[in-house]
Symmetry: C2
Subunit: 263 residues, 2 copies
DNA sequence: CAGTGGTCTAGACCACAGT
DNA sequence: CTGTGGTCTAGACCACTGT
């Protein structure tokens, strides 16, 4: 698969072009799970880049979990599928779209109001500070999935009530109109039984099992952007997630732990 | 906070010593959320290392989510708490210990048997291939939390039935006695109602809400190591997780996206 | 032994932010 | 303009793996 044409005049960094070519090789089946990828030296020589640049391309693959390095042996394609971690920070719109469902929403409330204590605490606001509240019934292929109630600090997105169409993606509007990118969220999930009022809206029997979500989302600097309380029907929704260990990208058994104390 | 003493004769890499010093500064409160950390040039000059080495220390912090870089401005401490992502791949023993509970287990079964079809599929074995089955009642401070049933391919850990004390940590034994490190797991969580038999063992009312977990764990090369089915009481257990967006460590709004297409 | 990845150096040019 | 992070070079030594 080497060499190939590098574009040295492009704005695209060299390491990124190399990384993309390697990913392409994986997707095209030139490189299969367990195969070694070209060594850093080989990339360096055949493409005429320095070894540090080749290394940056290779490490970016390891960082994503696509490959793993073994000192003295080489770097190999991981057979763990699905480069994209599921259960990312993503809106309902994004999540359902990725699953191939047609998402839609019925807006039950979209208004400004003073922050109740639970919301104020999550968003690090004073109690009573102005927030925007958006309550929506979420549907996939016209079937009710859950009830979501989002709360946002009004001062972060002052024009939102006037400009945002609440049937569309909130995250997209936050990014495009207010320069706010939600990058991380902390979520607490509990299981419980649905109450009679919510059961009617969701069209399920009373006391059906449900997921209860409390999610606080943050911008990159740690500023709270959104606090969401949701109820999702257990018979229509399940949580799929990938868990990792923090030493994912550290050296393997032979290298690590014995000579170097990491955390 | 700079300079400080670097040990150039240590087996500990320089970038790692720098990274640890910066983390120490954060934990000691010398660096607070939102503060800039010393620039790469400053670290380079004051510690007498090359800029690439300083950069490696700084980037490792960004990679962990402890800090974030803005081109042209600097690198800043993130105010998002808890460097350790919760909901890592970890054993019950590790999870409860980290929460300050005293974990214990009652072994209900520990035996070899042929793989049923669901297990065989998850572990990529032939139906009927020999597996080790370990069923345990999990307790925190002597109170029942859940029922776990783990299945492992027998050929991966042949002596396990004889050498492993099933009241201790399975992950620790896999690593120490069989050289297998569990690094990633895919998990499906559903909510449901507990049946009468499990309810008796868990000492909860029948039809109480519960979490149902199906977890498949993998070694770094993608080989399935373990398949676990669990039931956890919803009134004693909740899921706390951190969700991230995949572009966490990419350049900010001013730099990214406009000049470079990433994924 | 040769080949691999892990670390490190001492420079360089660039795009961008803030003054 | 200076200072920042982003990228890149052309070398170097080391520890480790497999032969």
């Amino acid at each position: 698969m080497l060499p190939f044409a590098l574009n040295r005049d492009s704005v695209i960094p060299l390491y990124y072009q190399i990384q993309q070519r390697l990913l392409e090789g994986i997707n095209l089946g030139e490189l299969k799970a367990g195969d070694p990828i070209p060594s850093e030296q080989e990339i360096s020589e055949k493409l005429g880049v320095s070894r540090m640049t080749a290394r940056q391309a290779v490490k970016s693959l390891c960082h994503r979990g696509v490959a793993y390095s073994l000192r003295g042996k080489g770097t190999f394609i991981s057979s763990i599928k699905l480069e994209k971690n599921f259960r990312q920070v993503q809106s309902f719109t994004e999540e359902m779209g990725a699953l191939g469902y047609r998402p839609s929403s019925k807006v039950l409330a979209f208004e400004a109001q003073p922050a109740p204590s639970e919301v104020a605490e999550a968003l690090k606001l004073a109690v009573g500070e102005k927030i925007i509240r958006l309550r929506r019934l979420r549907m996939a292929n016209s079937s009710p999935m859950g009830l979501e109630c989002a709360h946002l600090p009004h001062r972060l997105c002052p024009g939102l009530l006037e400009t945002f169409d609440p049937r569309t993606s909130l995250y997209q509007a936050l990014w495009e109109n207010h320069g706010i990118r939600v990058l991380v969220a902390d979520e607490v999930v509990e299981a419980g039984l649905v109450g009679p009022k919510d059961a009617r809206v969701l069209r399920v029997p009373s006391r059906s099992p449900v997921f209860l979500f409390n999610r606080t989302s943050y911008a990159r600097d740690g500023q709270p952007v959104e606090f969401v309380k949701s109820i999702y029907c257990a018979d229509r929704y399940k949580i799929v997630s990938r868990l990792t260990r923090m030493d994912w990208e550290l050296p393997g058994p032979s290298a690590g732990r014995r000579t170097m104390i990491v955390d």
